[in-house]
């Protein structure tokens, strides 16, 4: 199915949801889906992740109505501010007599964008009873602290740091890149009181080490992993385009693997993200040790009722397997400290392919 423009999807989803409204989630007698994430009480582990769908109060209310345990707002991007600014700049004519007016206009754009974002947070805080997690994405160190404090003042329950420092600066060493993450976290944590989570990409040379080390910093939760638009090539027009806007069914495997491996080695909550499209995958993630799961693409494709579906089926599965609470089975299949996954995988690989000539 070809998704023409992502922007058109949200409306379609709401319409779909409203037309096919399922009955609200009811907690079956004994089953308790409550969990704690980042120190906050959630009524279930399913979170609507940060996306274009978590950008307006109407959507947020619909998400709450569908039963989500929490919601992560669309990211506010420092980059976006500069892009908008540069775009305005590019419209200057040959007589650049507006240069003085526009020279520092990015500060104005930043003020306006922040104003809108903070208003959304305040309104969400007023209208919703589930936790509202703000998401910020910056690239310069001092902006993080500034945004974080404003977001806290506006009433967010927690902040998800959408940190991706693309390692395109080839002259910077691994160490430089990685220490930036820790610097930024310290800087922010020193300025705010609400809990911090950090969403990372898998592009680290020592991913296990980084996950472990981050979990021991000031953050309370790690979100694995961020999903990016992948570049692709349009050979007819001979240009670079983006593809894979939404995740594919099999995309969850990378997350599954790492959550499973790290669940017993970390000092923070783990939130699974990317490729969680059905209730079965939710169960898988919880089994390998995730504290919560975040869904995005599934909502674009199936509407907010997907959340209600997942919760109902999770409950049914728990009842069928005799579990009263999430804690009864979470992490049951996570790798314990003594297992070496790499070795395990190698053995499997050799078993599968070793006999073939």
């Amino acid at each position: 199915m070809q998704w023409a423009t992502v922007e058109k999807l949200p409306k379609a989803c709401i319409t779909f949801y409203r037309k096919n409204r399922f009955t609200k989630t009811t907690n079956l007698k004994m089953t308790n889906l409550n969990i704690k994430y980042l120190g906050l009480d959630l009524k279930n582990p399913i979170i609507a992740g940060s996306s274009g769908l978590t950008n307006s109060i109407e959507h947020l209310k619909a998400i709450e109505e569908a039963g989500a345990g929490a919601v992560v707002l669309k990211s506010i991007f420092e980059e976006e501010i500069y892009l908008e600014f540069a775009h305005e700049f590019s419209k200057l004519g040959p007589m650049d007599n507006n240069l003085e007016f526009l020279d520092y206009y990015d500060y104005q754009i930043r003020k306006d964008n922040l104003k809108n974002y903070l208003a959304l947070i305040s309104e969400a805080r007023k209208e919703l009873s589930i936790p509202v997690i703000a998401s910020i994405n910056c690239i310069t160190a001092q902006e993080w602290g500034f945004f974080a404090r404003k977001v806290e003042d506006a009433g967010a329950d927690a902040i998800e740091l959408n940190m991706f420092i693309l390692p395109t600066n080839l002259s910077q060493t691994n160490h430089d890149n990685e220490s930036m993450y820790f610097d930024i976290i310290s800087r922010i944590a020193s300025k705010i009181k609400i809990p911090l989570a950090i969403k990372i990409s898998p592009y680290f040379s020592n991913l296990g080490g980084i996950i472990r080390d981050l979990s021991f910093s000031e953050i309370k939760g790690l979100v694995l992993f961020n999903k990016f638009y992948s570049p692709d090539v349009d050979i007819n027009h001979q240009k670079i385009i983006s593809s894979d806007v939404l995740s594919h069914d099999s995309d969850y495997k990378l997350t599954l693997r790492w959550i499973g491996m790290m669940a017993n080695r970390v000092n923070s909550d783990l939130s699974a993200s990317t490729g969680i499209h059905d209730w079965q995958t939710v169960v898988k993630m919880l089994l390998v040790g995730a504290t919560t799961v975040q869904v995005v693409s599934a909502l674009y494709r199936g509407g907010f009722s997907v959340i209600t579906d997942m919760i109902n089926n999770l409950e049914k599965w728990m009842v069928a397997n005799g579990y009263d609470s999430i804690g009864d089975f979470r992490g049951k299949l996570s790798m314990d400290n003594s297992t070496n996954l790499a070795e395990f995988e190698r053995v499997q690989f050799m078993r599968n392919f070793g006999e073939h000539k």
């Binding site: 892009l83 540069a86 590019s90 650049d96 007599n97 007016f101 500060y107 001092q142």
Partner: protein
């Protein structure tokens, strides 16, 4: 024609041998002690005539194309060469209501002089059109002879101009020539807008502005001060009083701040506040009641003409260190090169590729220190300018006791707030048809900074002229 004779008098190749005149300037050591002494002293008659001789009176004068108000440049310059300075001034007045102002503050190097034959074809310095314009206007002012341009018979139609800055003044000047009954309404107690409150005495003396204003009065333009259109009287009230056409020239008088921690401490001012206190309210002298804060270590944030005006004012008010802090490099500063040059001569320090992060105050709440980042220039973005990026770990601190924030202004929101039907952009500027300067309300026209954001005096004047012509057609058709 006398012009043909004048052209024949000197051969072009001789004209080309003359070097461009250098504007005499007051020595930096002297001028930093005086808020009200002009830096550029002005040409004397000999210098003016010699410079005027350089102009070759091209058959296809491209210089006029570079002028936003289409002054007949060759005509006025040739009048100077011919010794008819008053006629030169009259030529200027045909299209420019404020020639003494423009001669001083226009960025001629980007406008008329950029299109001069010398620059376009000979790769030599342009004829000093700006200096000559100023010479002619000053000569007329000092001569005591007042040349009031002709006006049509009054037609009794009442027109209102909101704001008394360059846009409205040039609009009013043209409308009154067409025969209209023009009243200019000004919110402040003095007329002239940015010419009075924004541009310092050492660049544009208020007395020069007053003289040009008197000219407009003589032509029949009425001025009412202490009148905020939309508050003192509403637009409806003015309609009822019989005004048929409106020109909105309320300017970009809304200061912008950077919103960084500590920015509301005492002794951190917007450039608007600082310049208004000194230029409009005369705060530098004890004679005037309005105070102004003085500092020993003054930092001005920004790189435009306003920043230059602010930092040079601070120097004249006794600063030991007057520093420009700009996040890009000097080459990218929007300020006129002449202003940067003068600032450097006067001892202004330039800390480029630096950006403020936070301010710190003493126990009484007055700023004493600031923290800055050094910036590096990254890849050009879609605008073509290289993007300033903070260099991580480069933070340092600076002792300051007065900070002026000169990072730009935004359009004054007062008038748009009173007119819900008026279409405005997301930046608060009024949307107008670019040729007609007409807004979404048919009898309302607009020009100047309220349409362009913060731009220049001459562009505002060009807008005023365009609006006058087009409102005239609009009203005549009705």
């Amino acid at each position: 024609m006398w012009r043909a004779e004048l052209r024949a008098k000197t051969k072009n190749k001789d004209r080309m041998l003359i070097q461009r005149v250098k504007m005499p300037e007051l020595a930096p050591g002297i001028r930093v002690k005086h808020q009200d002494r002009e830096v550029n002293i002005g040409l004397n008659p000999d210098q003016a005539q010699t410079e005027a001789t350089r102009c070759m009176d091209c058959s296809n004068p491209t210089c006029i194309e570079g002028c936003p108000v289409s002054i007949n440049i060759p005509k006025f310059i040739k009048n100077i060469e011919n010794g008819e300075i008053l006629k030169a001034a009259a030529t200027l007045k045909e299209t420019n209501a404020l020639p003494a102002v423009c001669g001083r503050v226009c960025p001629q190097e980007k406008q008329c002089e950029l299109r001069c034959f010398y620059v376009e074809k000979l790769d030599k310095p342009a004829v000093a059109i700006g200096h000559l314009e100023r010479f002619a206007a000053d000569f007329e002012r000092n001569s005591g002879v007042s040349n009031i341009p002709e006006t049509e018979k009054p037609n009794g139609i009442k027109i209102a101009a909101v704001g008394s800055g360059p846009a409205s003044l040039s609009f009013a000047g043209d409308m009154v020539k067409y025969g209209y009954d023009v009243t200019v309404f000004e919110a402040l107690h003095e007329i002239g807008g940015v010419l009075k409150y924004g541009i310092p005495e050492f660049r544009l003396p208020n007395s020069v502005v007053d003289f040009e204003l008197e000219n407009l009065r003589q032509m029949g333009v009425k001025f009412i001060t202490n009148f905020i259109v939309g508050r003192t009287s509403s637009f409806d009230d003015l309609h009822n009083d019989g005004y048929k056409g409106f020109f909105i020239g309320s300017g970009a008088g809304l200061p912008r701040f950077m919103d960084i921690p500590g920015e509301n401490f005492n002794a951190i001012l917007s450039s608007n506040e600082y310049l208004t206190r000194v230029n409009l309210m005369g705060a530098a002298t004890d004679k005037k009641d309005t105070p102004v804060l003085r500092g020993k270590n003054v930092a001005v944030i920004g790189g435009g003409n306003t920043a230059m005006d602010s930092v040079r004012t601070a120097l004249r008010l006794g600063a030991e260190r007057a520093i420009i802090i700009y996040r890009r490099s000097e080459a990218e500063m929007p300020a006129r090169i002449e202003e940067v040059q003068h600032a450097k001569e006067e001892g202004v320090e330039f800390m480029t590729l630096c950006n403020p992060l936070e301010y710190f105050a003493d126990g009484k709440g007055r700023v004493r220190r600031m923290r800055l980042n050094r910036m590096g220039l990254g890849e050009p973005d879609s605008s073509g300018r290289r993007r300033p990026l903070p260099i991580e770990g480069s933070e340092f601190e600076l002792d300051v006791d007065l900070v002026i924030v000169a990072v730009g202004v935004s359009p004054n929101p007062l008038v748009p707030a009173c007119l819900p039907d008026l279409k405005v952009t997301k930046w608060g500027t009024i949307v107008v048809d670019e040729e007609k300067m007409q807004s979404s309300i048919s009898e309302m026209f607009a020009g100047g900074d309220i349409v362009r954001g913060g731009a220049t005096v001459i562009l505002a004047m060009g807008d005023g002229r365009k609006a006058a012509e087009s409102m005239h057609h609009f009203l005549q058709k009705k």
